[in-house]
C-alpha cells in the first residue's frame, strides 16, 4: 500500500514569491493534516481536514497561508507571499477518520527554503 505522497520534496524560492505544496493521503484515509516542522522542533498542526471540510484551522496564518482539499482526497497548501521565517519542513499526514484514537501516518515532507 502506498504511503502519503508529497511533492515537491524540496523548494527554494525568494521571499515574497508564492509557493504551493501538494499531498496525496493514503487511500481510504478521510482525515488529512498539514503540519509545520521548524528545525529542532516537533511538528505543529496547521490545519486538519475531515473529507473536504477544514475542521481545525486555528493555527493556520490566514493572512498568507491557504489550503484546500476540494474532492476530499488530495490537498494543496499555499503560501503567498512567502517570508524568510517560512523556511521549514511542511509535513502532510493522514488517518482513517471516524475512530476514537487514530494513528496518523506522515509523508516525507516538503523542505522549503526562502531566500
Amino acid at each position: 500500500e502506498a504511503g502519503v505522497v508529497q511533492s515537491p520534496r524540496y523548494k527554494i524560492i525568494e521571499k515574497k514569491q508564492p509557493v504551493a505544496f501538494w499531498c496525496n493521503p493514503i487511500s481510504g484515509h478521510n482525515t488529512l493534516y498539514w503540519y509545520l516542522q521548524n528545525l529542532g522542533q516537533g511538528p505543529e498542526l496547521l490545519i486538519r481536514y475531515e473529507n473536504e471540510e477544514a475542521v481545525d484551522d486555528s493555527q493556520l496564518p490566514k493572512d498568507r497561508f491557504s489550503a484546500e482539499r476540494l474532492k476530499g482526497v488530495d490537498s494543496t497548501l499555499k503560501i503567498q507571499p512567502a517570508e524568510l521565517g517560512d523556511s521549514a519542513v511542511y509535513l502532510c499526514a493522514s488517518s482513517l477518520g471516524g475512530g476514537d484514537q487514530e494513528t496518523q501516518y506522515f509523508g516525507p515532507g516538503t523542505r522549503l527554503l526562502v531566500l
Binding site: 529542532g40 484514537q101 494513528t103 496518523q104 509523508g107 515532507g109 523542505r111
Partner: protein, 113 residues
Amino acid sequence: DQQVKQNSPSLSVQEGRISILNCDYTNSMFDYFLWYKKYPAEGPTFLISISSIKDKNEDGRFTVFLNKSAKHLSLHIVPSQPGDSAVYFCAASVTNSGYALNFGKGTSLLVTP
C-alpha cells in the same frame, strides 16, 4: 507552551544494550500517546502507541510504559541496533478533540557498534 517535553536532546547507547527514551507531559487531558521515529530527510514513521487505559504496550523490541500519575512515558528498545539510530518524537492527543498531535522536540538516539 510546550505540553509535551523530551528533556534529553540526545542519547548514545551501545549496540545490544537497552535504550530508554523519556517523555513528560503537562496536560492531564491527554489520553493517547504515540512514538514516532524520524530519519534525516524523511517524515516521521509511526512506531508504537498506548492508550491511557493501559500502562504498558509491547511490540517486538519496542515497549512503551505510561505512568499517568507522574505524567510520564518512556520508550524502551531492547536490544538496540545501529539501525535504530534516528530522532524519536513523543506525541500526545486528547480523544474526541480532533486528534491534533502535540509533539515533543525529539531525542536523537545514536546506537554505536
